[in-house]
Symmetry: C2
Subunit: 158 residues, 2 copies
DNA sequence: CTTAATTGATATAAATATAGTATCAGTTAG
DNA sequence: CTAACTGATACTATATTTATATCAATTAAG
């Protein structure tokens, strides 16, 4: 049971970088390099987030992406919904069918209850919250964005 | 985000039928027909449950499957683990790497916490519990196993 | 003692979802 | 003008999920 797909994982971590460098545009390339994510794939993820109004972009040299909202307004739940669809049990033709099959119906009720729990949990986890945890941990660990890496220009992609 | 795959869904509902007809062997065919599941696929699901000691079988005419445990001893969590793997975040090479990437590490911590919540919730849902809910609901709805359906012999599968 | 209803075991295919790559066009700072 | 960027989109590859098919072995029952 995979909770987060790569897209969601990449999205969250990219947003954390944007959150850490708030106020300036951050290029996909720098995120991809620093967080070790596939460049083109990440681009797609970011474009999807633009469509959902989470971030904004600027084209051209010195361009990149920037948060369009406060970090606390971006919840992991929303990201999961964008990249993995609404949290739901199998194919849910439930609402319409009024539970033709009783065992499925009873089962569904339990699952929906649990889904609500999961949903609530994820809703509470925001980019802002994660950022604060990151900062709290930074006393003990090397910086998240500690300048250019020595090999940041050595790219063999595309 | 799909919580239950078909296998888990079928497994749970098949177990509910076995639980409802406890004491006698129930054939895959009758389960497949009554619950509208693909026959061969369901067979695979049941065989998997045999391997995990949840049910027992008897070959030949009048053969079929039977619960090997008390319904209360069979939790949905275990079924999810059997058919969908242990509840875990993406690829978790965590334990070994000691979090090379800090944002991933912080994120992971949150996810693990939520996973624990989910896990606990699913652990509490047992076949026994679902059976009791089924019975409670049966006052309002037609029986789960109300004899042979009129068309139960009209099969065009295989 | 044959037959039909069953499970055991296993191979394969089809469908879908996830992950990743490539390309070309447009924008912009320097 | 050019190199560093994003926008848009088409494509490929891989993995997972779902489903089907087949053949052998077992067994109740006529």
């Amino acid at each position: 049971m995979k909770v987060l797909t790569k897209k969601t994982d990449y999205a969250i971590r990219a947003l954390l970088m944007l959150g850490a460098k708030r106020g300036s545009y951050v290029s996909v390339r720098s995120i991809a390099v620093e967080q070790d994510m596939p460049y083109q794939f990440l681009r797609g993820v970011l474009q999807e987030m633009i469509r959902h109004g989470l971030i904004v972009s600027k084209e051209g040299v010195q361009g990149g992406f920037m948060l369009a909202k406060e970090p606390d307004e971006i919840g992991v739940k929303q990201l999961i919904e964008i990249f993995q669809g609404t949290v739901q049990v199998s194919e849910c033709m439930f609402r319409k069918q009024l539970c033709a099959n009783r065992s499925r119906c009873v089962l569904r009720h339990e699952i929906m209850r649990i889904e609500q729990v999961v949903s609530d949990e994820f809703e509470q986890v925001t980019i802002g919250k994660l950022l604060r945890k990151l900062n709290a941990a930074s006393n003990l660990m090397p910086a998240l964005t500690d300048g250019e890496k020595p090999d940041s220009t050595i790219l063999k992609e595309e």
